[in-house]
Symmetry: C2
Subunit: 553 residues, 2 copies
Amino acid sequence: MSSHDTSYTVSDYLVQRLGEIGIEHAFGVPGDYTLDFLDRLVHSPIAWIGNCNELNAGYAADGYARLKGAGLAVITYAVGGFSILNAVAGAYAEHVPLVVISGAPAMARRQTQALVHHLAGDHDMQLEIYRKLTVDCALLAGPRTAPDEIDRVLTNCLSWKRPVYLELPMDVAQMPCRRPEPLSFQLDKVSDPLALDECLVEVARRLDEARNPAVLVGTEVSRFGIGPAALHLIERLELPYAMTVSAKGCLPEFHPQCLGVYQGALSQPETRAQIEESDCLIELGVWLTDWDTGLYTSPQAQRVFVRANLDQVRIGYHLYPGVQLEDFVRGLADQAKPRHFRDSHPMRPSAPDHSHLPQPSQPLSAARFYRRVETFLDDSMILVSDIGDVVCAVADMHIQEANNFLTQAYYMSIGYATPAALGVSLARPDKRPVVLAGDGAFQMTAQEVSTLLRQGCRPILFLVNNDGYLIERYLHEDQVYNDLQPWKYAELPHVFGDGALTFRVTTEGELEHALAAALAAPDSLVFIEACVGRDASEALKRIGATYQKNYRK
Amino acid sequence: MSSHDTSYTVSDYLVQRLGEIGIEHAFGVPGDYTLDFLDRLVHSPIAWIGNCNELNAGYAADGYARLKGAGLAVITYAVGGFSILNAVAGAYAEHVPLVVISGAPAMARRQTQALVHHLAGDHDMQLEIYRKLTVDCALLAGPRTAPDEIDRVLTNCLSWKRPVYLELPMDVAQMPCRRPEPLSFQLDKVSDPLALDECLVEVARRLDEARNPAVLVGTEVSRFGIGPAALHLIERLELPYAMTVSAKGCLPEFHPQCLGVYQGALSQPETRAQIEESDCLIELGVWLTDWDTGLYTSPQAQRVFVRANLDQVRIGYHLYPGVQLEDFVRGLADQAKPRHFRDSHPMRPSAPDHSHLPQPSQPLSAARFYRRVETFLDDSMILVSDIGDVVCAVADMHIQEANNFLTQAYYMSIGYATPAALGVSLARPDKRPVVLAGDGAFQMTAQEVSTLLRQGCRPILFLVNNDGYLIERYLHEDQVYNDLQPWKYAELPHVFGDGALTFRVTTEGELEHALAAALAAPDSLVFIEACVGRDASEALKRIGATYQKNYRK
């Protein structure tokens, strides 16, 4: 076809570009304003994954984006756009490259500000709100400007690893449009070479002088795909390293140099000592969030020697603006001299405790349940943690292989994990998602088990039934608002469809039986309700006292 | 206690004012930033109703507000605030007095813009977004300013019947605060008396000259509680009247002067003729939304003689600014001469067709199902319609008593009805909610059946299983995106708790059995899955052609 054929539309252009950035699945809910776009999408190589509601679609696309480099949600105007917004806010907070496409009324209706269904306020409201929670957005107002807008917005999504928003009026969706030029996204930000050199010389010298240097790996390493380069640096210089909770999963944890997860006063004591007593701590892409700093219990500025973030490096009290994190990591690996890790640092026992012996008739305790899940995990699984006691417990677990763990350790929206597991399933069909979700979190988004079944996904879903909002019971005086309606959780998957294996376990023996059945059915969705009463993980018990002392002030 | 006692806090002030505006129930989900406020709330006369998620809490509070004059949702920062936002947008669009209270990080954290959990962007993000979708909002930054802010924001909520937003930092929640002055909200807006007089004289004269005047009652009459005054006007002047879809329920429909629902080309033919052929149509509080105008098929400006809205009256092409709707309605009743309705207007058979005889073995058709629901309804029930084919079907139903019907006929967010029925149940315990929800809508918010059971509510929930997004199948070429995972719907309530009666009906006989059981169990939650295949209501069949012709342009 020539480039002037009228059958190629704005929708086709958009669908083609989405394919070029690696999108193979679209999550969402249809609505009349989006149908013309969806008609093109469902005839493209991108598979349509209908969700039960838009928030769940957003979480699924977020989980997908973390593993595939970009995720897509398609929703309708206002009722969809505002329903998914919390997932967009989460992706914005956590630097996840999520593309949101919203249908919209025809341009002629917009120009007259007609009172069309779904409208709240005026026709620009949704765009204005998305402008605040995305790194870039555009109204695709016509076929002449749409291609450049689409290219710019998608480039910014990939470049900043943050959500973007495209609003596509139903009439524009069908308008003829030029075909795309060959893809040439300019993604790389470049360091000033002289600043980078001076910075690297200084850091290398300080490292050389240090007695016990260490590396703390943070969120940006995870989100910007710098994990492999960081591991190369760490291995070449033989430095011990820890990760923040929100970076957990970006580097392997069975590694001999790994100190585990550092989280201020909430860390394991050995990890804490080795990070806080380092005389040359190199922080790579670390954010000082309340959770990553152990509720502000980590020593702050005075401790930090080198703090490298996306586009600057700080050494002590001076800054190198414009030095890019990835350039810094690669440059330092070339420049600095290897250390001898084994000589200066104690080893952490960097493997799960396989001495755990199930006691079949013993009621399930939280601590022993979580320890057993840890030993159950292997490299063929991706652990997806919801928020609540489970996100406390996972900090203590060893995840062997990189990229086998994800959660929302900063934005912390309960209900995230079950829909996110749908995204994980489709992004990495070779792996099996293992979900940990408390009962409170699960009730938020439970219907997405339906979509997991519908898509033939094979996650292992642990519903940790601890009878209410347990983390709130522990961190605050307990009140009725922490109670929940007690569902018959294990019966729920059967309502949504056929083929699930479900278990309700109250003893260690029953848990063993369920785990064995899960491994014996590698292609089934397995749902295990683990009843632990109101028992909390060891990690939450550590946190309770710190929260009372340091946070509620 | 003196007014200087330190045990009276900002939270107490807020709780007291909420009680004074008629709030008896608070919907929501707890989070750590809200717990200090909730500690006071749960010890007040306001009952805490925990929802499964925040969007559902918002819908419940919306349904409650429509019947009680104000509704309350309490949620936590960001993850809650953004999750509920679609319900707030709906309340904004539809003029529903919804109060949203969000917890927030302590002021000291805000001042340093600390990276606390749940933060997306910066600490003012949520407030800025709510400013766009509320009629008033405030950050309660300290106990000195909080009382006046609270009073102003709540006054604006009641005065404009639109959502408002209060952000309460966790530390401020506990701060000592002065006690409230006696409540003296200034709610009434007043007409300019000379403008009102001149306007009434003109309208009365035109009415007098008219051959076949009629009244069309719109949304504002419903939302601003002007129904009784409008009915007085209509009865005193003996005028025939119709309602728009979004005002349906605000006046009785078995009334001898009632022409039914007017919706342009989508109306019943007799209703349409009498409204469109009137030579003096008085529109009271009508909005020209796409749905209320029958997808823009109603004759526009040239037809309208008098259009009274909240704060202006238009007669032909001239305006009376500042004339208040309620003053106009009351004044016209006093001023104009009675007509003789029966002489000039044909009667509409204003009652459901009770000649409907069930044919026990006949498979359920959509048309006969909806007609049977209509005859099943009585004055002890409030019909709550979701969006989809059901909102098409209900336009044809006669609702005898005023205020026995609600839906979102403008914002049209699917999934609204099931959670809204929770609000209806608690606002009007003397009435039984009857919910009509399609399968697509129900999957959005299904978990709120759990809260209905938990609160001992006794709705009759009709899950109209028409196998997918039926309205989209009818209005557009059908595609895979309209398919849904087929749940075993009738088993779902039993997963959530005990005590529900559930039925899956495929024939008219089975439906009769279920309806009889529902009446025989007036205190139970009754769930009836009505399987109609992909059959559509008569109303949707009327709409299909109009949509293709008039809307997709």
